[in-house]
Symmetry: C2
Amino acid sequence: MQIVHTITDLRVALKNKAHVGFVPTMGNLHAGHLQLVNVAKQQATIVIVSIFVNPLQFGANEDLANYPRTFEADCEKLIAAGTDVVFAPTVNEIYPDFNAQTQQLGQTMTINPPPIAAELCGASRPGHFSGVATIVLKLFNIVQPAVAVFGKKDFQQLFIIRELVKQFNLPIAIIAADTVREPTGLAMSSRNGYLNEAEKNKAAELHQQLSDIVNKIKQGHHDFLSLERSAIATLSNRGWQVDYIAIRESRTLAPAKASDSALVVLGAAKLGSTRLIDNIDFFALAN
Amino acid sequence: MQIVHTITDLRVALKNKAHVGFVPTMGNLHAGHLQLVNVAKQQATIVIVSIFVNPLQFGANEDLANYPRTFEADCEKLIAAGTDVVFAPTVNEIYPDFNAQTQQLGQTMTINPPPIAAELCGASRPGHFSGVATIVLKLFNIVQPAVAVFGKKDFQQLFIIRELVKQFNLPIAIIAADTVREPTGLAMSSRNGYLNEAEKNKAAELHQQLSDIVNKIKQGHHDFLSLERSAIATLSNRGWQVDYIAIRESRTLAPAKASDSALVVLGAAKLGSTRLIDNIDFFALAN
């Protein structure tokens, strides 16, 4: 496995390589990321994984400084998974005009994401999806993959990246990979590492609530607002600080109507100081 | 010369074509545009010209509805200039989510340009350079040229497009072509067509003032503010409504210092209801 740190070296490594598969990550890799690599390997002849903790997608009060950096362990996992090239640039390589000390963008150009970016996770993380869209567009232009793989765990991110590709006319196929879960149902996430033992045991409750909503909808419940409110109340009673529980049409992310059949139930909530997200997409018999 | 109207047809026309040269235009072509085509032909093996009046770069009170559309005459000129492919998409083909009636963007994603986009022409045209950067990025992704040619007449636009290419890591060489002028010195522009005969005779005064500033700087004048103010006063006395006259460092567009040697003098002013822009870039002996 080749490890490169600069755009110039990456372009040399990829010169004349056809059908490149790309998996962008922020490192601290777990089984969910390795599943993305597996999917990419099935779709491409060479697989590039980027490891870059993108400062533009973190809010001022978020965990940028503490976000776990585990580069050597990540590389061992990526070798085992059959990755061909790791691209691990510095912040300065990606954003030459960004001042990491002051968080000033300088002349840095960014993407205005679509209005949906202000809902769900965007409501409590202003600027997050602009930062995500900006780094993904830059990485796409640097890597120029034929195929890029993203996890369904970040469902809203996946939606915005599909929009990015469509609206900026990028000749890249976006593949969605299923969420990998602990035996308890807890979705794999780098941020699970912030949880203490007691929290980790409780953490599956978020998935359990989403799963309960899915079952109720499949059984014919269509009062989505009351399903959302009930799950929020249950989690709050159990000590969670709930950000949102939302039932949406899965292809547009618009609030679901009883007549919709492609649905996704999404949730975000804090356990202690750790913010967790999860979602389940499914098909229901329309009303 | 092939004429295509859809992205799909353009991709078919360009399949397996190496070293594509690209000239984006809004049509109503004049000798300045044809010079861009000539430059592209010297740099590329196949030349694509786009004709698209981009609604995103026009303000609410600007001339979008009246902007001259002369598609057949444009095609005749492009054939004569040796163009290989014309790409003339509809607004809906480029911005499927944009509502031309209401000017609502819908889910349309746009580019946040750098702070310089709020100065000079951007000060009186809010949103203009966001619209320019957005359409150029989309066209670049659609055409995927090796080389793209832009006129120096839109000097600030050229600067922002160079930033776009650099910051979004596009593997595209940007070539700047010199401004083509009438014998009077008036810079060729589609908007010259709005001028009546009397205005057309006066219109060269803008270039004359910029040219006078260049000569004075070359003679050793370094009080840039007084040079700007004097030109503004002269044009105002002659019936122009001056937007700005500005002396800038030509590679950064920062306000020029006496120690700078790479300079550009830019101006924008209205004659009647027609807004004209011009500039001259030059090297001066630094102070």
